[in-house]
Amino acid sequence: MTNLEIAQTNSTPGIEADWDSGLLRLRGDSYPENSFALFQPVVEWVETYLRDTQRPLRLELELLYLNTSSVRALMDILDQLEDAHQEQRPVSVTWLYDAANERVADLAEEFKEDCTFPFEIVAKT
């Protein structure tokens, strides 16, 4: 399986998925024209990774603004991780935010709510 690399734009996050290290990173704002088209490859990558390997998966998020359809897409990805966690796969999320914007931490908490796997919300220094 190949890696995934989508460059960040004003309205879409930078997306990097590294197969060998099992790291998926999303960074930036997300209000794309078509969020399905943007997130579908990510959802598929996660699905394939979890199916074809037994290695841990780490999701690193540094997201600021998400529109409604991006919120939904991210929740789908977190659901995938939750399912994997239920099957004893080691998965985790680290959500980085700017300490000057505590609001983002509150939002990350909302996403974390239903997740039973390790989910860290960390202020960037």
């Binding site: 603004y65 529109n67 409604t68 919120v71 929740m75 509150d106 939002l107 909302e110």
Partner: protein, 269 residues
């Protein structure tokens, strides 16, 4: 012996007893009765089986219903969460927009309106007077010897003087007037819907209010301002009115500072 079926009102076991009696008594009805009995029993079995199958269907249907319901509930919960998070984001954006608006219209140090916002307000007043008649006044206020204060006491004290004067002007103007930071140590005040005869005493009161020395750890800094005031009338040029207010301020400075000078010239284009 066949058990009586729960779905039947005919007692098969009673018929079976009757059949047995007929057989023992060599009753000629025996064979017919036996056929009838077996046919009936077979039908009974089919009926029982059908009922069991129907029951199973009903059970499966109920389970499917439960599954649908729990799926539906899960999706409803997910939707609620999406909406909640989305609302949260909208609120965050609204607040950020508000902050951005404040940043783009206000001066960071003094918290007063900035020059851009002050200019917008002047244009609004011009439009109002030109449409509805009346007058409004413009005052330009400049802190006296500000450069000397900065050079003698340092920029930190200079900033404190600016903040103190700004706060004082802001508290002493009327609610519907506007005070903006116009330049370095210069402030512009819009006296809405007012004539110069009424504004002059207001400006004198501002002068007295502002003249409070600033006490620092090491010194007492005397603070005064000079003011130039002019009146805008229907059809006037705003640019000329501002130039004339500035000239009045200049006259207040050359006449010895810490005073108000009123301009009565026309600003016609």
């Amino acid at each position: 012996m066949t058990k009586p079926s729960p779905h039947d009102d005919v007692d098969l076991s009673a018929i079976a007893v009757l059949l047995q009696q007929c057989e023992q008594q060599d009753n000629p009805l025996y064979e017919s009765l036996e056929r009838l009995y077996h046919r009936y029993r077979q039908q009974q079995r089919i009926l029982d089986r059908l009922i069991r199958i129907a029951d199973q269907f009903q059970l499966a249907e109920r389970e499917r219903g439960h599954r649908y319901q729990s799926n539906y509930q899960r999706q409803a919960r997910q939707l609620e969460k999406i909406i909640r998070i989305s609302d949260h984001y909208h609120k965050m954006m609204r607040d950020l927009n508000h902050r951005l608006h404040i940043l783009s219209t206000h001066d960071e140090l003094t918290g007063l309106a900035n020059r851009r916002y002050g200019t917008q307000r002047l244009e609004q007043e011009v439009n109002f007077v030109n449409r509805h008649g009346g007058t409004f006044c413009i005052a330009l206020a400049d802190i006296d010897h500000f450069k000397l204060i900065n050079d003698t006491h340092g920029h930190a004290v200079g900033d404190r003087v600016l903040t103190q004067v700004a706060r004082c002007l802001q508290t002493h103007i009327r609610d519907y007037d506007l005070c903006a930071r116009w330049g370095g140590e210069e402030f512009m005040i819009v006296f809405a819907r007012a004539a110069i005869a009424d504004v002059h005493p207001l400006a004198e009161r501002l002068l007295t209010a502002v003249s409070q020395p600033l006490q620092t750890e090491s010194a007492t800094v005397a603070v005064t301002v000079s003011l130039g005031v002019t009146e805008y009338r229907v059809g006037d040029s705003l640019d000329k009115a501002l130039v004339h207010a500035d000239q009045a301020l200049y006259r207040a400075k050359t006449a010895g500072r810490n005073r108000v000078m009123c301009d009565h010239s026309t600003h016609l284009v």
